[in-house]
């Protein structure tokens, strides 16, 4: 019961962010068309049949995310310094569904309405049969890996739920994603500061 209350409380504070205009990579493919995905340079991709439905609202550890389209065009943002405008407001956490081409840590720049900018670490573990090196939550996993010409058993593809702190008590205006093509972001959700906790 306590877990449900906490989950409900977190969800109430969270707003999924629209990143649809920035999606530039297809990382999820159907078993009948594995060549349609190319998360990495070898053309590997997640198996759609093991992931949530496209554009569904999913919850990971109580945090709601808007899952990207599945097998219907680009499904993630391969990071290259894109700027994502967010609804103005005070937030405590930036939550992401992400995966990396090998274990990776970089920075996301938080742009505030008052002109200040804070660089905060974004740490994402490898999507390819790897542990959660940075303590992320395993959000979704396909137990098989898609190769361009076949479905490979025994090599899982993992999508992680990671979070970034918003330490500045100021209104957030936008995010500049890492200038790092190894990092892929599938969904972004902002968790608002609780009333009375943002002074």
């Amino acid at each position: 019961m306590t877990d449900m209350l906490v989950t409900s409380t977190i969800a109430r504070l969270c707003d999924p962010v629209d990143i649809s205009g920035h999606r530039n990579n297809t990382a999820i493919s159907a078993a009948t068309q594995t060549g349609a995905g190319a998360f990495n340079v070898w053309g590997n991709s997640f198996a759609a049949e093991y992931l949530p439905a496209g554009e569904s609202l999913v919850h990971v550890a109580g945090v709601p995310f808007r899952f990207p389209p599945v097998c219907d065009g680009p499904d993630n943002v391969r990071c290259a310094g894109q700027f994502v405008t967010v609804p103005a407001g005070r937030y405590d956490w930036l939550h992401v569904l992400a995966a990396a081409e090998r274990r990776c840590e970089d920075t996301v720049e938080l742009n505030f309405g008052d002109g200040s900018v804070d660089a905060e670490p974004l740490r994402v573990s490898d999507f390819w049969a790897a542990p959660a090196w940075f303590g992320e939550i395993k959000a979704f996993e396909s137990p098989v890996m898609h190769y361009p010409h076949h479905v490979q058993r025994g090599v899982p593809a993992v999508m992680w739920a990671q979070r970034v702190p918003v330490t500045r008590r100021a209104g957030l205006a936008g995010l500049r994603l890492p200038r790092n093509v190894a990092v892929h972001v599938f969904a972004v959700t902002l968790q608002r500061a609780e009333a009375g906790h943002d002074r």
Binding site: W42, Q152, G154, A182
Partner: protein, 350 residues
């Protein structure tokens, strides 16, 4: 079972080889780790004890197991000494001496109750994801041979992790493959396998890793990072490597990026193991500065990801990614400097 049958069946005694793996290492560290574990040594304590930078221009080969290793006076290379400079780990490459009896050396090694590390082409191995699809130079551990049933016992810790038998004919195709150029894998194809094998020996069981022993290793390596030599070693060597890499990208030289991926794998793997070992020792010895230094070294490994993956995706147009390559080389240089500083400070207290 006749004596002749027995004589054609070889298997190591004791347990099957350990599948030793970390997500940033290659088959090189994985196979050496398996050999070390079989010798009763802690693979992380041996393979993670040293941390250096070395780039040998013109030496990089398109193989998963490439690691910079200068030739000795005899012209041979000792990958074991390069991977574990603070331990008596040694290796030498060999190839079958008799074309009419390719298994002679393998039989002799297994008869000594030692495993063999063999180079293979993934294209021909049924348990590899690249089977029948992509050519790539890889390493596996051989731990048994059954010439009666026509089977080789192979251990491979790299996902999807395999330990079992492979038909001799399939293994021979893989072991003797030309590993031709493959557009699906620009980084690990186009390197003849040539039935190469590695004989790996650990001179003696490693002594217990104490703060004093590790402190000595760290001071030696920090000195090496700070010392300018004729070779591309240390921080100065990294600067020379990075400057040449960015220049070649600006000039549109795709070979620079083709070499970056296998070369960077070795440096990335070494940093990840060293960082993990220092963190582990820091926790066990109640030394948070040492643990923090380990984390700083791991940050070096993680920064290699940005450089290597940017290069991999930029292979088709090096000029277009030259600014990003410069950016990631600059980030990586900063991580090296921070980590060398942190390790030096931690070492001074050990």
């Amino acid at each position: 079972m006749t004596g002749d049958v027995l004589a054609r069946t070889y298997m190591i005694t004791g347990p099957e080889p350990e599948l030793w793996y970390r997500d940033l290492i290659s088959c090189l560290q994985a196979t050496f780790g398996s050999v070390l574990a079989r010798a009763g040594a802690d693979p992380l304590a041996v393979l993670g004890a040293g941390w250096r930078f070395l780039h040998l221009p013109g030496d990089v080969r398109s193989e998963e197991f490439y690691y910079p290793c200068p030739a000795g006076e005899s012209g041979g290379v000792d990958l074991g000494a390069a991977l574990a400079p603070h331990h008596g780990l040694h290796s030498r490459w060999w190839q079958p001496a008799d074309e009419d009896d390719l298994w002679r050396e393998v039989r002799a090694t297994l008869a000594e109750d030692r495993v063999v590390i063999a180079a293979v082409d993934n294209f021909h191995l049924p348990f590899r994801p690249a089977y029948g699809d992509v050519h790539a130079a890889h390493l596996v551990v051989l731990y048994g041979l059954d010439e009666v049933r026509g089977l080789v016992y192979v251990s491979d810790a790299m996902p999807p992790a395999f330990r079992g038998t492979v038909p001799i004919e399939a293994f021979l195709r893989s072991w003797g493959s030309a590993n031709p150029t493959d557009v699906q894998d620009a980084f690990f194809s186009d390197s003849r396998i040539g039935r190469r094998c590695l004989d790996v020996r650990l001179d003696a069981p490693p002594p217990p890793l104490t703060p004093e022993v590790l402190g000595g290793f760290l001071r030696t390596d920090v000195d090496a990072f700070a010392t300018v030599t004729a070779a591309r070693t240390g921080l100065a060597g990294f600067d020379a490597f990075a400057a040449e890499l960015t220049d070649r990208c600006r000039a549109g030289d795709a070979t620079a990026l083709r070499e970056l991926y296998p070369f960077g794998w070795g440096m990335q793997a070494q940093a990840s193991l060293h960082g993990e070992l220092l963190r582990r020792c820091g926790r066990e010895w109640g030394d948070p500065a040492l643990a923090g230094a380990g984390r700083a070294v791991e940050a070096v490994a993680h920064a290699w990801t940005g450089l290597r993956i940017t290069g991999a995706h930029g292979l088709g147009d090096p000029r277009a990614v030259s600014a990003d390559i410069t950016h990631h080389a600059t980030v990586l240089r900063g991580r090296y400097a921070s980590a060398v500083d942190a390790v030096g400070a931690a070492a001074a207290r050990l």
